[in-house]
Symmetry: C2
Subunit: 217 residues, 2 copies
């Protein structure tokens, strides 16, 4: 087997070059430095500048996310693709864990019994588990709508909601509702686009901030 | 707990409404009916019409993918996000399995020993495993470049390559190389965009075709 190696092999090197391209092509923006580190990672994961520009941050969102991670609070993902994408090491070094409840047997059983979806029931379970933690929703608008309902009813108190579901039915509407909340802090985006890699990129950017000097304020 | 249920709850119903919106907004295109069922699912997963329009199909790609699934050949995903996103039931009913090799201990060990990446070494292992099967790459351009090298060297003979890595460094170039292959058949796209949900959507659309009447030709 020949030992040809592509010219750019090192993931760190590719990432650094990518981030330089993104900063240059994005040009002017009104994000804070910490928000921009999140926007940059979302663009890196999607190659989509419009998606990056569509991100919306509650004023306390970055601080709340960093604090939750540094305090070892749980991170609950709506689907397995988000759970497996999140870098575990930086969450776990502070004692936190990354959960996904949608395949739990009790969630499936409860959804069947109530004639509703596992996405909705898993958010009710997440509300009990993620008090003071982060809930990251990359897939199901119905999960985000249910979480917003629980927040309004005083039944969910996460530190931060990362809500970036993708789709043509209810996705944009669910995110507009999230952006209208006064509390808890949120990170979301405007429009139909979003998805698992976007949710993953946001949480991974937050955990990088949590371990960096900047996060050690 | 109140029993408010959002107006659109059923995933099947949401999907049907989404697909109608996509067909209407996409308008004219030159994809075949089977190719369009894949394009539609990619747009559904990304809410990105440009990404859908950027898909490129080798003339035998759909047929080769359906046949590989119906013959129970392996599906190898480059990363775990792709592996967990692929619907297993329709693959496994034909005897196939969905693999991801990047976290295998022997892959990590070999990468360390050779001073290269796990993405590259995992493709060398995939080449041995996925003869006659499907290799789906949603993340790493270096993995796709290595697989193309193995194909050219006669060391990899998959039935179909689904190559849709995302990114700013080498992604577009790796996909242009793939689109230049005469064999094996491929499904790819032009440009920087792509990603795990795109790879997942393509494989899931193929397995739907495999189980449908259309796939039973």
């Amino acid at each position: 087997m020949s030992e040809f190696v592509p010219s750019t092999v090192r993931p760190e090197e590719i990432e650094a070059r990518s981030f330089a391209i993104i900063a240059e092509e994005l040009g002017e923006h009104s994000f804070t430095e910490e928000q921009f580190s999140i926007v940059q990672r979302v663009i890196h994961a999607s190659a989509d500048f419009d998606l990056g520009r569509s991100l919306r941050f509650h004023p306390q969102a970055v601080e709340a996310g960093i604090r939750a991670i540094r305090e070892g609070r749980p991170v609950v993902a709506d689907v397995q693709m988000v759970q497996v994408g999140i870098s575990k090491a930086r969450i776990e070094r502070f004692g936190g864990r990354v959960h996904c409840l949608i395949s739990d047997p009790d969630v499936a059983e409860e959804a069947r019994r109530q004639g509703t979806t596992r996405a909705i029931v898993s958010m009710r379970k997440a509300a009990r588990m993620a008090e003071g933690g982060i809930v990251a929703i990359g897939n199901a608008p119905t999960a985000l709508l249910e979480l917003i309902r629980l927040v309004r009813a005083g039944e969910a108190r996460p530190a931060l909601i990362v809500g970036v579901p993708v789709g043509f039915v209810s996705a944009a509407e669910s995110k507009a509702q999230l952006a209208g909340l006064d509390q808890p802090p949120f990170i979301t985006n405007e429009g139909r686009k979003g998805g698992s890699p976007v949710a993953v990129a946001i949480v991974n950017a937050l955990s990088l901030l949590a371990v960096s000097e900047a996060g050690a304020r």
